[in-house]
């Protein structure tokens, strides 16, 4: 029998059909995917007994409590502490140190350089002219080193406000108090009227509002043009056209003051309820009913996510400024910092801390020394200086922005940084040897906490500071995961001066609230969780 081309094709067809009925193609596909996971250049977690250690997340200023699984000195997993919740980024944060975008080498104008080159250039710049230092998480021990350096050199230290602090900026302007000393007393509020703040989507500390919300005692009213995830989950969603939020705030204030249903006293806003209804498209009666709800379910507080004074001023009428459950000034307060937006003058060089958003653009003609742990690409910095990554340096965690009470924690370093990595504080100490070290500042802060004998340390159990026999014991407790928590804010500790109702402004695009802290790269696990979790929106501008 002669074999023909048709026989071969028919045999091939039968073989193909047969193969699909066997495990072969599927097993090869499965095995190939596993093979790709074990390529030699892909970092593998250590095979060693797992230890669970406590620390705090330093990726954003909220400093969430972490349980870190560590194998052979390498973090291999992150989970929240008992009083905490984590964002998707923190869940995958242990992978960040292995990200291909990790900076491991000093570079100058895109070419490899050394720390000695960077030090020489920085010393020269410091001699030639003033230096500006930009920081996004102020009040840390490392921040204190940078602030000290700027002061000793006759330069300027400035900060970048977080989204939570930007929303508090109007009250700082009206009261004269530093914006970093203000906070929202959500824990004692019964109603929150949020103008666009993604409170259930992780705004601020990720678990703070969702935990209060889950108790059922809090009414959350979300005013937003579109049905965001927070609006969807809120007790009530008020849909308004973009740009008409200030009109709604004025309408609500008018009802509260006209009907004397709020204890607050303030002049009537120029906008009438009818005008507010016309601008927002909401019925007059709905605005009145909403105002009565605010008055009946107090303490209530309004949040202007973008810091629009025309919305924030509603809190005068609600009576929530300086009141329990409203906007409060913390006990310890805090210094007043210059913000990077108001940085004027000519600087020979700008030193940018690793906490500053990747896309921050300093003045054009200064020599820019930029610390970063990860490279987001397209940097306009002259010098890129590799900084410690996730949990690779000892740092302290001051009070989270927007918190009503002062807190202090120490984030233990659980991982060894690569050889050619330095922190800004370590770098500046080489320029000016008189600067204190981060360790020294942390010791001093612990001694000060011990001396004041106020507040308590919350850890496995709550222990008043007065029970500690020595500052070293207190510091040891802090280094192993306890958090110092001050007493509640002083009632009436914040007084704002009411001058006039702000004019409604043109609609302002609400800045992406994650932009001030999300690193330029995302770990693979966070990408997966951003896609699958319902907690936070993925950060804008990050490809996932």
């Amino acid at each position: 029998m002669e074999l023909t081309r048709r026989d071969l094709l028919t045999w091939g067809g039968g073989a193909t059909a047969g193969l699909l009925l066997t495990p072969l193609p599927w097993k090869v596909l499965d095995d190939t995917s596993k093979w790709t996971q074990n390529w030699p250049w892909i970092p593998q977690p250590s095979r060693a007994p797992i230890e669970v250690k406590r620390s705090f997340c330093t990726l954003c200023p909220n400093g969430c409590d972490l349980r870190v699984r560590v194998a052979s000195g390498t973090p291999v997993g992150v989970s929240p502490g008992p009083q905490s919740a984590l964002c998707p980024l923190a869940f995958g944060a242990h992978q960040l140190n292995w990200h291909p975008g990790r900076l491991r080498q000093v570079s100058h104008l895109g070419k490899a350089a050394s720390w000695n080159d960077a030090l020489a250039a920085f010393r020269k710049a410091a001699v030639e002219g003033p230096i500006a230092v930009v920081d996004a998480y102020p009040r840390r021990a490392g921040s204190s080193v940078m602030e000290n350096f700027a002061r000793r050199q006759g330069g300027t230290y400035c900060i970048i406000l977080s989204a939570e602090e930007r929303s508090l900026a109007p009250y700082a302007a009206w009261s004269g108090a530093p914006v970093t000393s203000l906070g929202y007393d959500f824990e004692h509020a019964r109603t929150i009227l949020s103008f666009g703040a993604p409170l259930l989507d992780g705004w601020g500390a990720p678990g703070r509002v969702p935990r209060l919300w889950s108790t059922g005692a809090l009414k959350l009213i979300q005013v937003e043009p579109s049905l965001s995830r927070t609006a969807n989950a809120a007790w009530r969603w008020i849909q308004v056209p973009s740009g008409s939020e200030a009109a709604l705030a004025a309408g609500l204030a008018r009802v509260l003051l006209e009907e004397h249903i709020s204890p607050a006293r303030a002049p009537l806003p120029p906008t009438t309820v009818a005008e507010a209804a016309a601008q927002t498209g909401i019925a007059e009666e709905t605005i009145r009913e909403l105002a009565r709800t605010l008055a009946a379910h107090g303490p209530a507080v309004a949040i202007a996510a973008d810091g629009d004074p025309a919305v924030a001023v509603l809190n005068f009428a609600v009576g929530s400024i300086g009141a329990r459950g409203g906007i409060v000034r913390r006990r310890e307060g805090g210094p007043s910092y210059l913000t990077a937006d108001n940085l004027n003058g000519h600087f020979r060089a700008v030193l940018i801390d690793a906490t500053v958003p990747w896309d921050f653009a300093p003045q054009a003609d200064a020599e820019v020394f930029r610390f970063a742990a990860w490279n987001g690409g397209g940097s306009r910095a002259h010098w890129l200086l590799p900084a410690p990554g996730f949990l690779e340096e000892l740092t302290d965690v001051p009070t989270a922005p927007g918190s009503a009470v002062d807190t202090y924690a120490i984030a233990a370093n659980l991982s060894t940084p690569p050889a050619d990595v330095r922190s800004p504080a370590g770098f500046l100490a080489q320029v000016d040897s008189a600067l204190p070290s981060v360790e020294d500042i942390i010791h001093a802060r612990c001694r000060e906490l011990f001396r004041t004998h106020t507040g308590a340390l919350q850890g496995e159990e709550t222990v008043p500071v007065s029970r500690f026999a020595a500052p070293e014991r207190l510091e040891e407790a802090l280094r192993t995961g306890s958090v110092w928590v001050a007493g509640p804010p002083r009632s009436g500790g914040l007084r704002c001066r009411f001058e006039q109702w702000p004019q409604p402004t043109a609609p302002r695009a609400t800045a992406d609230w994650t932009a001030t802290w999300v690193p330029p790269v995302l770990p693979p696990l966070a990408v997966k969780l951003y896609r699958e979790s319902s907690l936070r929106e993925p950060p804008a501008g990050r490809s996932i």
């Binding site: 028919t10 045999w11 047969g18 009925l21 095995d31 074990n38």
Partner: protein, 162 residues
């Protein structure tokens, strides 16, 4: 039967035989353990009745690994030396598996995951997948997920993966 049907059937049969019999044989390389250890014989002669008599857990609940020579010493007079066992059920490095949770909290029997391994009369050959590099007997994710779903236990990435 036409010639086309015969040829098609021949191709089908060849592929089925290759896929079901030749492929699994070719895929795995058989590697000898350092000793021809027979679980059944040891259980019968030593009177050991529980897996955990030899395969111990540490105080923190983690698996202590394959028993070393000191476990053999009470019965074997001659030195057994240190043996580099090939571990059939070793999970990939990116998996975090807690024996303590499965045995103490869920009260699962060893055989639930490992099968009747302890009753094996003959040494069990270690078969290594030529492509993935893993043991043939290592539990895959589908098995874990199926069991978790059946028992209504959470199936989340971070429960098992580092």
């Amino acid at each position: 039967m036409t010639r086309i049907s015969l040829t098609f059937g021949l191709g089908l049969a060849t592929a089925l035989a290759a896929g079901w019999f030749a492929f699994p044989y070719a895929l795995y390389v058989r590697r000898a353990e350092p000793l021809d250890f027979r679980h059944k014989a040891h259980a019968e002669k030593s009177g050991v009745s529980q897996c955990t008599d030899c395969h111990a857990l540490r105080d923190d609940g983690s698996f202590a690994g394959i028993p070393q020579a000191d476990v053999c010493a009470p019965c074997h007079n001659e030195s057994m030396g240190k043996r580099n066992w090939l571990v059939n059920f070793r999970q990939p490095a990116n998996v975090w598996f807690s024996h303590a949770i499965h045995m103490r909290r869920a009260k699962l029997d060893c055989a639930t995951c490992h099968g009747p391994y302890g009753e094996s009369a003959q040494p069990v050959a270690y078969q290594q997948d030529r492509i993935s590099g893993y043991s043939r007997q290592v539990m895959d994710m589908n098995t874990c997920e199926k069991c978790h779903r059946e028992r209504k236990v959470e199936v989340g990435c971070l429960g098992c993966h580092k």
